[in-house]
């Protein structure tokens, strides 16, 4: 094997969900002379054989990543319990092996992974809970940006406001949930199970550098997401009006903008 093949082979053994020996067996079953290749390259000694030495790396690989996910999703882990969480992580790492240089991004696919997990049949709120945990963490670690203040828009003539576009600060998140998982996430003695109530949240980073959230109605969600996608103010109002009938679009937009300025959700364009 050349160096690239050797490293790919090595990593395959670390990623094997049932350990190095089973990983070798799996590769052999797929037609690779894995056992011979392993014996030809990896050195052990009388104290510990090569297989057990590579198993050290395999265990470190799994348990390091499991510990990171446990720290990033403590409530999800608490709901599942240790065994189910361990099994979830095993399946997750097979489906989503890490690809980013920073462990910070390891858990990003986990909420989506949970959506198709059999766990949701008995715990349908689990993807929402994981999604809130992830967005909360991502908000906390997001890049900084200065706040756009109302006073900075004072020089803009009113006639130009319909074409204004807005940038949200990197820490702002919009989250649509099917279940009321907030209490489950925040409270030390949460309710037994979150109730199903579709709703939306804005997560942002306050002046104390901690994440916080507030709930928004459907009109606000459409409005903010339209602005976040780069549409100008007038289009965001139209989009909101199109979705929410009998709405004073202009009045509501003014209120939503005011809320956003109060919470310093916008930043000046780069």
């Amino acid at each position: 094997m050349n160096l690239e093949e050797l490293q790919s082979f090595f990593l395959s053994l670390l990623e094997a969900p049932e350990g190095v020996a089973r990983g070798l067996a799996g590769l052999s079953a797929a037609g690779m002379p894995a056992g011979d290749l392993f014996s030809a390259h990896f050195r052990g000694d009388e104290r510990l054989g090569a297989l057990a030495r590579v198993d050290i790396y395999a265990n470190m690989y799994f348990f390091r990543l499991r510990d990171v996910l446990a720290e990033d999703f403590p409530r999800t882990r608490g709901v599942l319990g240790e065994t189910a969480f361990h099994n979830l992580v095993t399946d997750f790492l097979v489906a989503h092996p890490p690809s980013e240089p920073s462990l910070r991004w390891l858990g990003r696919p986990l909420p989506r992974h949970l959506e198709s997990s059999p766990l949701t049949s008995s715990l349908p709120f689990l993807p929402d809970l994981a999604r809130l945990e992830w967005e909360w963490l991502d908000c906390f670690q997001a890049l900084d940006a200065p706040a756009l203040l109302r006073s900075m828009l004072a020089p803009v003539p009113p006639a130009e406001w319909p074409e204004l576009t807005f940038c949200f600060r990197p820490s702002v998140r919009f989250l649509s949930l099917e279940f009321e998982v907030e209490a489950f996430f925040l409270e030390s003695s949460p309710p037994a199970r979150p109730v199903r109530r579709p709703h939306s949240l804005v997560i942002f980073r306050g002046e104390d550098e901690e994440p916080a959230f507030f709930e928004i109605d459907e009109a606000a969600r459409v409005f903010y997401e339209s602005l976040a996608s780069g549409r100008p103010l007038a289009e965001a109002c139209s989009e909101m009006a199109g979705v929410c009938e009998d709405l004073d679009a202009g009045g509501e937009a003014a209120r939503y903008l005011s809320d956003a300025f109060d919470r310093e959700l916008f930043s000046p364009k780069p």
Binding site: Q7, F10, L11, D45, L48, I56, R104, D144, F168, A228
Partner: protein, 324 residues
């Protein structure tokens, strides 16, 4: 779910930086804060001696920010701060105002065969331009293959082929960053039957060919020598004195017949003895106590750091004829 612009940046660019066949020229040092400034050494030249430092960990932020700790410098894990904002970044730069801070990475995968990620190098260069670390370091290992990151420091076979491969990549990285980097000897638990060079021969030759520095982790040296039956003195003697930029000191765990690089124990006596011998051979080299897990209170870490300073002072005071 729609996110903010911050989320739209998350994919990053993947591109292979073109191979550069010769090292980049020296970069004029930036205006330094305390202990800062880019260091681009001539071959065999060492960076300035920073003294005795500690790995900066989150649990010690309050102690460090309070201004009550005594420490010469700190080292941080690069990847924890790439593309990150908020409180962590603010604290990092607050600390940087008062202490030199070295960037120590774990995901460069200098020994890997995947193309080195351009977005990673750009982020590293950007962070370094703001933080002005005295040097940047990572590990002699591979981390990724097939685009998958193991988040571990995986061993290399030590052959002429792999040496040439790593040499090319080190030169590429150094040219991109505009500075030389230091590479650490990682602990290992398995070696390769087709290796033709010792680890110390590989490191020494790599440093000679590229001008990179060696971050000599004495705990890792001890762990690897124990695990593979290497001679510790041969390892030390095989490293050219001028190539060592930094020492790491840490404490491992025992797992059956092997030692595991857990960095979660006090520095053991045999590693302190290695440190004495290393100081006798390499002189006053910036030294750092690492503690990565089950991290104790600052006072414990500080005591280790002070012990290192005392031992270095004792060894440097010995005359050439003093018995060891």
């Amino acid at each position: 779910m729609h996110g903010s612009e911050g989320q739209e940046r998350e994919a990053g660019r993947r591109e292979e930086i073109p191979l550069i066949s010769s090292p980049g020229g020296n970069v004029a040092p930036s205006t330094p804060r305390r202990g800062g400034g880019v260091f681009s050494p001539a071959p065999g030249q060492r960076p300035p001696f920073l003294g005795h430092g500690a790995g900066l960990r989150r649990c010690h932020y309050p102690d460090v920010l309070s201004g009550s700790v005594e420490c010469d410098w700190f080292e941080v894990i690069t990847e924890n701060f790439l593309g990150a904002g908020g409180r962590a970044r603010r604290i990092l730069f607050s600390i940087r105002e008062r202490f030199p801070v070295v960037l120590h990475g774990v995901s460069l995968s200098i020994g890997g065969c995947d193309p080195i990620r351009g977005d990673y190098l750009e982020a590293l260069r950007g962070l370094a331009s703001e933080l002005e670390p005295p040097w940047i370091s990572d590990h002699l290992c591979f981390t990724s293959a097939r685009g998958h990151n193991s988040h571990d420091l995986l061993p290399l076979p030590y052959t002429e082929e792999s040496l040439a491969h790593v040499e090319r990549r080190v030169l590429q990285v150094q040219d991109f960053l505009g500075r030389a980097i230091a590479l650490e000897n990682a602990s290992s638990y398995v070696t390769f039957l087709h290796s033709t060079l010792s680890e110390w021969e590989f490191l020494a030759e790599l440093a000679a060919r590229t001008g990179c520095g060696i971050l000599l982790d004495l705990n890792n040296l001890d762990v690897s020598c124990h695990n593979h039956g290497w001679e510790r003195e041969s390892y030390l003697q095989g490293i050219p004195p001028g190539s060592v930029w930094q020492f790491h000191l840490a404490g491992p765990s025992e797992m059956g017949p092997l030692l595991i690089d857990t960095h979660d124990h006090p520095v053991p006596d045999r590693v302190w003895e290695l440190y004495r011998r290393a100081v006798r051979r390499f002189g006053a080299v910036s030294s750092l106590v690492e503690w990565d897990d089950k991290i104790p209170e600052w006072s414990v870490l500080s005591a280790e750091r002070q012990k290192a300073a005392r031992l270095m002072d004792e060894e440097l005071r010995r005359g050439p004829g003093d018995p060891s």
